[in-house]
Structure formats: C-alpha cells, structure tokens
Amino acid sequence: MIALILVFLYIGLFTIGGGMVAIPLIQQIVVERGWISLSDFFGMVAIAESTPGPIGINIATYVGFDQFGIPGALIATISFIIPSFLIVSVLSDLLKKYRYSPIVKNWFLYLKASIIGLIGYAFVNVADYALFQTEEWIDLKALILLVGLSVVYYFLRKKPWIVIIIGGVCGALFL
C-alpha cells in the first residue's frame, strides 16, 4: 500500500504535458514491478480512453482498484493528484509570471521532444501487443481494423469516443 502511494506521488510529479505522458510512466513502473501484466495494463488503457474523465486519473484509479479494491482506487488517485495540486496551488502566481522566461521556454523545447519519444514508446508497445501477439507473423484482421479505424478517425476528427464505440463493435464482430 505504501509502495502504491509512493509510486503514484512519483508519477504525479513527473507527468508533465498531460495524460498521454502518464501512460508510458505508469506502464514502465507498474508493469516492471510485476503488479499488472502488460495485456491487463493495455486493457486498462483501453477502458481509461473509453470512459469519461482525464485519462491519467482513470488509469490511476484502475491500477489502485486492481491492487487493493476501493481503498486502493482512492489512495492511488489522491496520491497521483497531490503533487500537481500542491505545486499549482502554491506556485500559480509564480508560474504565470515566468511562463515566458527563456529558461522555461527552453525546458519545454526539449521536454516536448522527449515526450514524443515517450509516447512513441507507449505506441510501439501497444501496437506490438495489438498486431504481433499471434502465431502468424502479423494479425491480419487486427491490421485491417487498424487501417479502417485510422481512416474513420481521420474523417471524424476530434471524436475519439465514436471511434472507440466503432472499434469495440468491430472487435466483437470480427476479431
């Protein structure tokens, strides 16, 4: 339980740039420690994306619940929120004042590039799990669905939840 608190305080402190960054951070720590299997973790990400609310909060709640039931869900989520809540509520004036200073700009120059690398890590892991965990060299049905859903998402810009419903229904029918 204490490990759960510390891990989510740590993740909360280093999640910079929003929920997408929380996915690789949580994956690395939680899966490497053997708390949750990779396939279960991706199931959690799928559910976090298809339910309302911030994605990072959804994953934190899910991981906590998986480990210790309802108390775990509450504790993981609260631990995850505390660092940013304290930093933002104490430093909001300071942050507003310095957000255009050269050093902050340069931090984000590199930070944003590294975030692409980290999201790329999550992307490759999920894609590998979705497409290549099969006896054939690639799961052809999953690949066709991936291409189809990419096209649908492109034409339905900014409506992820519709694509999630389509993805779930197609999964039930074809996979």
């Binding site: 911030p54 899910y62 930093i87 942050l95 039930a172």
Partner: protein, 180 residues
C-alpha cells in the same frame, strides 16, 4: 462570491461528460467557465499555458487554477474533487464488473477492438504533438534518442524528463554567455 456547491457541480459535470482526456476538455471548460464570467477570456490562455507547464493532468491543473481564482485553496480543492470524482466512481464500477466478466470471449474481443483504437489515438497524438514540438532536425534526433533510451536500453522515463530540464538549462546558460 461564487458558491462552493456551484464550483463543485460545474467541475463534476466536466469530469462526467468529457471523453478523451484533458485536451478534449478545453473547449468545454471554456464554454462552462469563461462564458459564465468566472474568469476573463484573456486570462484563459494563461491558465492553459500554466496547466501544461506544471506537472500533473491538464484537467486537474485547470480545476486547481480556476478554483484558486474563485475561492482560494478551498475552491481549488472542491474543483479538483469535482473533476476527479466521476472517474473514480465510473472506473471502480467498471473494474469490479469487469473482473467477473473478463473471461467472457465477447468482452475480450470488444477490449481488443478498443486497444486497436488506442493505437490510432497514440499514433495521432505523436503526429499532432510532434508536428508542433519538433522544429528542427536536432530535436528530431533528441526525440528518437529518448525513445531508444527507454525502449531499447530500458532506462526510466523520469530520467529522460530530467535530462530535458538539464539540457534546457544548459541551452539557456550558453545563450546567455554568447550574448555577453
């Protein structure tokens, strides 16, 4: 003075009705909070910038900032609880149901379909964030190096984030020296 219960319910609704995470929330936050006159339109840009610069979820950070602005710390606390509560309830319910249904083949197939959507969403995020963030070939190599460090060498993501702060600091110091 705006009532705490008002703050709570506005953020509760925000947490309950937005799909797709913090960035998807921004237009709805604007409608619910700026158009209500809770914060001036010209300050909203500042809030978004600070929410992205600070650690943590963007939605939580915006809730903290708006709550602080309206009713100091207690307002921030109420707003954050409001925005996080729907997630906690919905996920807890789904997680407890799913542990019973996880063995059903149909449930597994639906999840597999949604995981493919996650691949699409992450791929799109990389293209969208990347096209703005990677402004030159050095940053492209830096992003590729960060990926390799985490994927092939198994280094911690936190180390990579720390390195970015270090490089940003060095970059700024060198610029200062050059100017002098």
């Amino acid at each position: 003075m705006i009532k705490l219960s008002n703050i709570f319910f506005v953020f509760l609704r925000l947490g309950a009705l937005t799909f797709g995470g913090g960035l998807a929330m921004l237009p709805i936050i604007k409608r619910d909070i700026v158009d209500r006159g809770w914060i001036p339109e010209e300050e909203f840009g500042d809030y978004i910038a600070v929410a992205q610069v600070a650690p943590g979820m963007i939605a939580i950070n915006i809730a903290t900032l708006v709550g602080m602005h309206l009713r100091k710390r207690i307002g921030a606390l109420v707003a954050v609880i409001g925005v996080a509560l729907p997630s906690i309830i919905v996920i807890t319910v789904i997680a407890s149901l799913l542990s019973e249904f996880a063995d059903i083949v149909l449930v597994q197939k639906v999840l597999k379909g949604i995981i493919i959507v996650v691949v699409v969403l992450l791929g799109t995020a990389i293209i969208e964030i990347g096209s703005k963030a990677i402004r030159n070939v050095y940053l492209f190599f830096y992003a590729a190096m960060c990926f390799a460090a985490v994927y092939f060498l198994g280094l911690s993501s936190v180390l990579v984030i720390g390195l970015s702060f270090l490089l940003g600091t060095i970059h700024t110091l060198i610029r200062k020296r050059v100017k002098q």
